[in-house]
């Protein structure tokens, strides 16, 4: 159960703007926030965590009032049971990886800590200090630490941005699993549509502090351009001549496909263009694929 | 360079001297005699030394740093001193130190301060030293010893008469002059130093001041400030 309705003045790239965000749900929702750089996503998470003051607003989580500017309530971050993965990780340099995790636990439980570390594939690094880790390793420690806290609400600020796809997918699954297992409310900031679609129940698209769209991920991300059932956006990587035809090499997501073009077509299309690839008459087959790097 | 106990006397001595020799400029630096000694040994720019302890001047002479004979200018005297509001009657004499009301006594450090040596001798003379030993607070020099007494941190101080006669202490306390027979005389000596020789004019001034101190006028002033005078 969560109810958020906040407002705060910010100074952004286009001058002052007003951050206005509201969301409420009576289930344990997985909410994703999606939007341009500087649009106020991190600020929203920080206000929820109590690290920043809202000019006006109200936050109620699981029937506890965390913030109510009208009544002058603003309980400190220590009393809000959140797990926060910071954009810059904020690991404690004076503690090893394991100690970072243990520090987050109210009841120190080494076995559980090691399990979490295994989940993020860092168990062998447990006695290392954060500044001897690679960027992605640090990010995973940050995630593990937020999880170890056993929070009511998980605030994830681009928690997987420095990770390659294979581990990223695993950790997405982990987050999803935890979210369901512990009936968490989770708020994710991410730039990765795949991630947002995979994980979230609700997506909020904000721009310049204002909510542009709210909805379920499919509604938000399903394209409207053509009515075709099977169509994709992609980028032209290369155009090759093959016999009388031209072959456009197109990058769609993590895939590369080749599409035949006529001389006419290529007048309009050149390397680097963003294109829509669609099929009118189409009979797709679908086949389970192994989970691995392309 | 002059020992600290001369502070008050020298104000007047300087004034009188200035009247006699208006062209001479003299500057006095006060400090403990030991410090002055070390500084002079290490080529401090002092022309005359007035030491509360003849010994230092003698040592300087041994090192060939003096250019005049050593002369005594005064004997120091010691007194018991207490605040007027202390309810202790020092006039009763030295045995007052045994009084229960006297919990702490300040005394100058007998390891290097001449007034301290004298005070200790005096206590020993009356067989009091061991008895009051636990009450003793050792001041680093005679001025500090007086401060202890004056601030009330100790009940009685054994200090120099010259200090007890200063405006401030006269106002705030009462003193009892200790008999000169209980301690060996505090022989205070002075001499002109080698440094004065570097400059003719300075040397002349120094010699004039040297002679002035043994003049009748100067002796009168010293006496007024609580020093007894050498016979010569």
């Amino acid at each position: 159960m969560i109810e958020i309705d906040i407002e705060k003045k910010l100074i952004g790239a286009q001058g002052k703007f007003n951050l206005k965000f509201s969301f409420s749900s009576d289930k344990n929702t997985f909410l994703s926030i999606f939007g341009k750089s500087g649009s106020g996503k991190t600020t929203i998470l920080r206000i929820i965590a109590g690290l920043e003051k809202a000019d006006r607003g109200k936050i109620v989580v699981n029937n506890k009032v965390w913030l109510d500017t009208e009544k002058g309530i603003n309980i400190p971050p220590q009393k809000r049971n959140v797990g926060f993965v910071f954009q810059n990780y904020a690991l404690f340099p004076n503690m090893t990886v394991l100690e970072n995790i243990l520090f987050a636990m109210n009841k120190k439980d080494v076995k559980k800590a090691l399990e979490i570390l295994k989940d993020v594939e860092l168990e062998p690094l447990k006695d290392r200090y954060p500044n001897t880790l690679s960027g992605g390793q640090q990010q995973r420690v940050a995630l593990a630490r937020a999880i170890a806290r056993n929070p009511e609400i998980l605030l994830l600020d681009e928690p997987l941005s420095s990770l390659d796809f294979s581990i990223r997918f695993k950790l997405q699954d982990l987050i999803k699993k935890l979210h369901q297992k512990f009936q968490l409310t989770t708020i994710l900031v991410s730039h990765e549509p795949q991630e947002v679609i995979k994980l979230s129940d609700v997506v909020v698209h904000i721009e310049n502090g204002k909510i542009l769209k709210v909805g379920n991920p499919l509604d938000i991300f399903k394209k409207k351009e053509v009515s075709a059932k099977f169509s994709f956006f992609g980028y032209v990587v290369d155009i090759k001549k093959a016999d009388i035809l031209y072959l456009a090499v197109i990058n769609i997501g993590t895939d590369i496909v080749e599409v035949a073009l006529t001389e006419d077509d290529i007048k309009d299309i050149k390397i680097g263009d963003r294109v829509l690839v669609a099929s009118k008459a189409f009979n797709p087959i679908i086949k389970k694929a192994p989970l691995r790097e392309p | 360079y002059a020992a600290s106990d001369l502070v008050f006397a020298f104000k007047e001595l300087k004034k009188v001297y200035k009247e006699k020799y208006p062209q001479d400029r003299i500057r006095v630096i006060f400090g403990s005699s030991g410090k002055g000694y070390s500084q002079i040994v290490n080529s401090a720019p002092f022309d005359i030394i007035f030491s509360a302890n003849e010994l230092y001047v003698k040592k300087l002479e041994e090192k060939g740093l003096t250019v005049s004979p050593i002369k005594l200018y005064a004997y120091g005297k010691i007194v018991l001193w207490t605040r007027k509001d202390s309810e202790i009657d020092v006039k009763k004499g030295i045995n007052v130190l045994l009084d229960k009301k006297v919990k702490k006594i300040s005394i100058a450090n007998w390891k290097h301060a001449p007034y301290g040596v004298a005070a200790k001798e005096c206590l020993e003379y009356y067989n009091l030293f061991e008895k009051v030993r636990d009450k003793l607070i050792v001041g680093e020099n005679i001025a500090q010893t007086a401060q202890y007494a004056e601030s009330g941190a100790v009940d009685v101080g054994i200090i120099a008469l010259s200090l007890a006669l200063s405006d401030r202490l006269k106002m705030e306390g009462i003193y009892y002059l200790l008999s000169e027979k209980c301690y060996s005389p505090i022989r205070q000596a002075y001499a002109v130093l080698k440094h004065a020789k570097e400059d003719k004019e300075r040397f002349d001034t120094a010699m004039r001041f040297f002679n002035f101190i043994s003049s009748k006028e100067a002796k009168k002033i010293l006496k007024k400030y609580g020093f007894s005078l050498p016979e010569n």
Binding site: A49, G50, L51, P76, P77, Q78, K79, R80, N81, V82, G83, F84, F86, N88, A90, L91, F92, P93, N94, F103, A104, N106, Y129, N131, R145, R149 | S32, G34, K35, Y37, S38, K59, K104, S106, N109, K111, H112, L136, I137, V138, G139, E140, Q144, Q147, Y148, S151, G152, A153
Partner: protein, 222 residues
């Protein structure tokens, strides 16, 4: 030269340790407050703390004597508590040292507090740690060089200072005659041999104490 008396060394070290430990615990809340509070006149506080330093030690000692003797404000208070005044007692030396060494502890701590990354503190808060837990587990361990600086300067200065100690303590053997005073005495009585020996021993002890601090610190360094 007299035979070496080790009591003054013992007293000095005791004074140094007691003062450093007490100041550490006084300096931390004070430094924390000055570094993090948003009070308007914080600069005034910062400047005030350094002020005892600008007075000559013996003069500061003199003022403290007025305060600490049995008719003084603190001295009389202490007399009621403990039966004797502050002046001329070890407690008085400690009290005086606390005052004159305060800036040597507090100023380094302030700059240490300011150097700790704000986001670490925030992270600790979101993990449900109280301000106190955050202070001891996150802030202090991440400002170790400043703590070392504070401890070393305080310890060394307390050992070496004698102006204040001399006046407030009154050079009482076994109670307030610390080694700096013993050395001073020796020099004043032109007993240079003793002075040299005392100094050498003092320097050696201090050197090894400080070295231990540094090496221990290195050992536990990340």
């Amino acid at each position: 030269m007299e035979s070496i008396d080790f009591n003054p060394f013992f007293l000095s070290l005791k004074l140094g340790f007691v003062t450093t430990v007490l100041l550490f615990f006084i300096g931390i809340p004070l430094g924390y407050f000055i570094a993090y509070s948003k009070v308007r006149f914080k600069s005034v506080f910062e400047a005030l703390i350094a002020l005892p330093l600008v007075l000559p030690p013996t003069v500061l000692g003199f003022y403290l004597l007025l305060l600490f003797n049995k008719r003084g404000l603190l001295g009389s208070l202490w007399e009621k508590i403990s039966g004797h005044q502050l002046a001329f007692h070890f407690e008085g030396l400690v009290a005086a040292s606390l005052i004159f060494s305060l800036p040597f502890m507090v100023h380094p701590l302030i700059s240490g507090f300011k150097s700790v990354d704000r986001s670490l503190i925030e992270a600790s808060y979101t993990l449900g740690k109280t301000k106190l837990q955050t202070l001891f587990r996150v802030i202090l361990p991440n400002m170790k060089p400043s703590i070392i600086t504070g401890i070393v300067l305080t310890f060394a200065h307390t050992i070496g200072e004698f102006g204040v100690v001399l006046i407030v303590g009154g050079n009482i053997e076994g109670e307030t005659k610390v080694v700096s005073i013993a050395i001073y005495d020796a020099v004043e009585s032109l007993d240079y041999a003793s002075a040299h020996i005392y100094s050498a021993i003092l320097i050696a002890i201090s050197f090894f104490t400080l070295l231990t601090v540094y090496i221990l610190n290195k050992r536990f360094e990340v």
